[in-house]
Symmetry: C2
Subunit: 313 residues, 2 copies
């Protein structure tokens, strides 16, 4: 008889979990019982990874476990929330213990790095699909929303853009190992999200690509923006790409970048720079009252991106 779902949970998903005092009941009951700190709101988010859509068969199970939690923490980071707990709904074609052990190792690598306790989930048989739920806190009124950007605010992004998409494009590159890490093991910008609490007016994670996600922020804020292409932060790997059109397309619309984009009123910029910790940030443009997203090339001419980001359907 293959290993049962209960044995899998007991063997691979219970002992590795981070201990937290605010977990009153964890894995192993009908639900988890959790204590949100007084004065904080609960911030929740959930994302699904599907085989052949979000990852291919050349991902190791460890990469998949890592990425499943990391992309979810990226959403909490974009809300300026402190991560606390996660749930894992794992659908597997069969109970392959080696696969599960590797997956759990990747998942708990991320969980441990961010002090996140696994508090529950579900294990079912079916096509490989992973849905993670994450739960965090933000002091009431201090979560970061998409709707708060105002004309005059400066637009920042963390890290570099387009690396994951360049990796997926499969071009030969001396930076292959770097690109693979960017695609398979994205670093959720949790510390960065926390650093802008109370400073940033709006924020979003740019998992669907800068153009699409900044577009959402603008729509929800009722504003427009101008962004300068020559200010976009590109890694040495992307800068090494000869074709400038392709470079731009990857940076603007590639997707799978788990960087943050946020807006800050200009008078707050000195505070931001003094308080900042984490990945480098770059100011790429500014919010304007006129709707629409205007891209300006290095020579000052308008640029129109060919497509706007990842579409699921």
């Amino acid at each position: 008889m293959p290993i049962s779902e209960f044995d899998i949970i007991a063997r691979y998903f219970t002992p590795a979990s981070v201990g937290r005092d605010d977990v009153l009941v964890g894995v192993g009951d009908d639900g988890a019982v959790l204590q949100v700190p007084a004065g904080s709101a609960l911030v929740v988010s959930t994302d699904t990874l599907v085989r052949d859509v979000h990852f291919s068969d050349d991902y190791s199970p460890e990469d998949i476990g890592y990425k499943a939690l990391a992309v979810n923490l990226s959403d909490l980071a974009a809300m300026a929330a402190q991560p606390a707990w996660a749930s894992l709904a794992l659908t597997l074609p069969r109970a392959d213990e080696g696969w599960i052990a590797d997956f759990a190792r990747g998942f708990f690598d991320v969980a441990e790095a961010h002090g996140v306790a696994l508090v529950g989930g579900d294990l079912t048989r079916g096509p490989l699909t992973i849905t993670v739920g994450v739960y965090g806190f933000a002091p009431t009124g201090l979560s970061l929303r998409r709707s708060g950007a105002r004309p005059g605010d400066e637009i920042f992004v963390t890290g570099t853009l387009g690396d994951a998409a360049l990796c997926l494009a499969g071009l030969p590159s001396p930076h292959r190992a770097y690109l693979e890490t960017r695609l398979r093991r994205p670093t959720p910008r949790v510390a960065e999200g926390l650093s802008v609490r109370g400073l940033a007016s709006g924020g979003i994670d740019i998992s669907d690509g800068l153009a699409a996600d900044l577009g959402h922020l603008l729509t929800q804020s009722g504003c427009g923006a101008t962004v300068y292409l020559d200010r976009l932060p590109l890694s040495p790997a992307l800068r090494a790409l000869d074709d400038p059109d392709r470079r731009r397309a990857l940076a603007l619309a590639g997707g799978d970048d788990y960087e943050l984009c946020f807006t800050v009123p200009p008078q707050q910029r000195p505070v931001l720079e003094s308080r900042w910790r984490g990945a480098p940030i770059t100011c790429i443009g500014r919010i304007e009252s006129s709707p629409g997203l205007r891209w300006i090339s290095a020579d000052g001419s308008a640029y129109h991106p060919p497509r706007e980001g990842y579409r699921h359907f």
Copy 2:
């Protein structure tokens, strides 16, 4: 171009959601921001439904939407929690608007009946899989756990056992419509869970069948139990089945019954009966200090069930 994920969310999943004052940020940002009431703990649970495992192609999309939320609320009921919010991670092979509209109707039927607001989720392309997360409250210290049963406590179940499994068995029955409803549109025992707050010593939902789930409760409580087969509550549909072995097997191990099993100290029974509201309850046996689960037939002899419940692997 097919309808985009953003249009699907805006059209089918945003307007129908119940409004709640404790949803500070709902669908449409990187995460939801929620306010747990002072003095309450947060109770969370998550369950996945996979096509061909948890439902077949003769389920209507409305049934699937209904069941996806109902089975999750059953877990909150088993924790004696008051449901408040839900998230929905929906993976679909294609963006079929008719299917989505029907699915949403079933989902929101249940949500509205229980005052549950949809606060977020994810929509992805892939094999049909639905993961719902539910969030509720219980006053600190008053959630119901699997581990609290004590020798001498009486064991109760809500409703009737084995109907869903009888439906799945596909036998001809004059009760077909009743059985289909039991299988496809189970009623989560939310009011029943709330009625036993502070009275019941332990509780669990019996979605994997009474034998397996009562077994979990006993293991976690460090106890055993005796259960009397002639006390098991059976519907007229199940009683109409001629074969007594099959009747018993369905009632004990059929699974997909979203009833509650809970234990109550005998001195609390009058309070339980006076306070009870909801589906009928039946006392089926009692908790004992000696480990193991003993089944007693009508003639007083021991009965040994052939199998213990649903196994995913």
